[in-house]
Amino acid sequence: MSTEVLVFDILAVVAVIAALGVILARNPVHSAVALIVTFINLAAIFVMLHAEFLAAVQLLVYTGAVTVLIVFVIFLVKVDDLPEFYGGNPVQRIFALLIGLALLGEVAAAILTRSAIGASDIWTAEAIADAGGNAEVIGQVLYSEYVLAIQITAVLLLVGTVAALVLARPASATLPDRVKRTGLISLAHPRGADREVAAALPAGLEASRRGETSGVRFDDRGVILVDNAEAFTDQTAWGGDRLEGDD
C-alpha cells in the first residue's frame, strides 16, 4: 500500500465520519462544525487530485463563506428553538437507512464494474506543471472554453441576490412612504395616534383592534400600542400597497 493510498484513506475516513456527524449531531452547531471538517478534508483530497485551485476555492467558498453564512443563520434563530432529530417517526429513519444502503449498493456496483472511461486528455501533472501550475491552467481554460458559463454564473449569482433580497428584506421597506410616515409618526406621537391618523390606517388594523393578530393593540383611548416598530409595520393586515380611502 502506497503512502498516497494511506493518506487518501485517512482523509476519506475522516471525511465520511465527519459527514455522518453532520447528519447525526443533535445540535446544529455541531453539525456545522462537522461539515467544516468534511470540507477541509475534501480540500486536502482535491490537492491529491492535482486540483489545488479547487482546494483553495473549497476552503474559501465553502468553509469560509457558506459555512459562516449557515452558522450566522443558526445564531439568528434562537438556538433553543432548534428542533432535534426527526424523532417522531423512527420508521422514516429505518426507511432512510435501507434506501441509503440500497442506493449505495447500486452505485457501488456501478463503480466497481466500471470500464467506460473517457479518453485521456492532455493535462497530465507534468503538462500542468509546464504550463505554470493548476491555477494558471484552470484560469486559461475558464476564460477560453468556459466564457459563456462564467457569464451565466454571474447572472445566476445576481438572481440569487435578488431572490434573497425579496425574501429576506423586511416588509416595511416596500410599503408606500406615506403609510410608513403616518404609521411611524403616530408611534412617535407623545399621546399615541391621533384620531386623524388612526382613521387613515388600513382596514387591516381594524382586525388587529379586534385582537385577531398579536403585536398591535388599541387601548380604550384609541392609542396604538405596539411591542416594537417591527411588529407594527410587519402586519399581515396591511392589505396591499394602498391606504383605505386613498382613492
Binding site: 487518501f8 475534501l42 486540483a51 441509503g100 466500471r114 485521456s120 434573497a164
Partner: protein, 102 residues
C-alpha cells in the same frame, strides 16, 4: 488497492452523496437539511474531480468550480427562504411547516 485509482474517489463520492441524502431524509431542522444537501454536492464534486484526474482533463475541475458557484447561489436563496419563514412563523422545523397537505 496498491495504486490510487478513480475507484477510491468514486466510492468516497458515493458515500458522501448518500450520507447527505440520508440527512435530507431524516432531519427536520431546515438548516441541517440544507447542510446535508451541501454534502451531496460535495460528493458530486469529488466524483467530478476524480474523473478529471483519471482522464488528465480540466473539464471536471471546471465543472466542479461552477457547481460550487451554483451551490453558493442556492444557499443565498435557501437562507433567504429560511429567514422569511422564521420571521413569519418562528420556526425552522420542517415538521411544523405542513399546512399544505392533503
Amino acid at each position: 488497492m496498491e495504486e490510487l485509482t478513480a475507484t477510491h474517489f468514486l466510492l468516497l463520492s458515493a458515500a458522501l452523496f448518500i450520507i447527505g441524502m440520508m440527512g435530507v431524509l431524516t432531519r427536520r431542522n431546515v438548516i441541517v437539511i440544507f447542510m446535508s444537501v451541501e454534502l451531496m454536492i460535495n460528493g458530486v464534486n469529488v466524483a467530478l474531480i476524480g474523473f478529471a484526474w483519471e482522464q488528465n482533463s480540466m473539464v471536471g475541475q471546471s465543472f466542479a468550480l461552477f457547481v460550487i458557484a451554483v451551490a453558493a447561489a442556492e444557499s443565498i436563496v435557501g437562507l433567504g427562504i429560511i429567514m422569511a419563514l422564521q420571521r413569519r412563523i418562528d420556526t425552522i422545523d420542517v415538521a411544523d411547516v405542513r399546512q399544505l397537505r392533503e
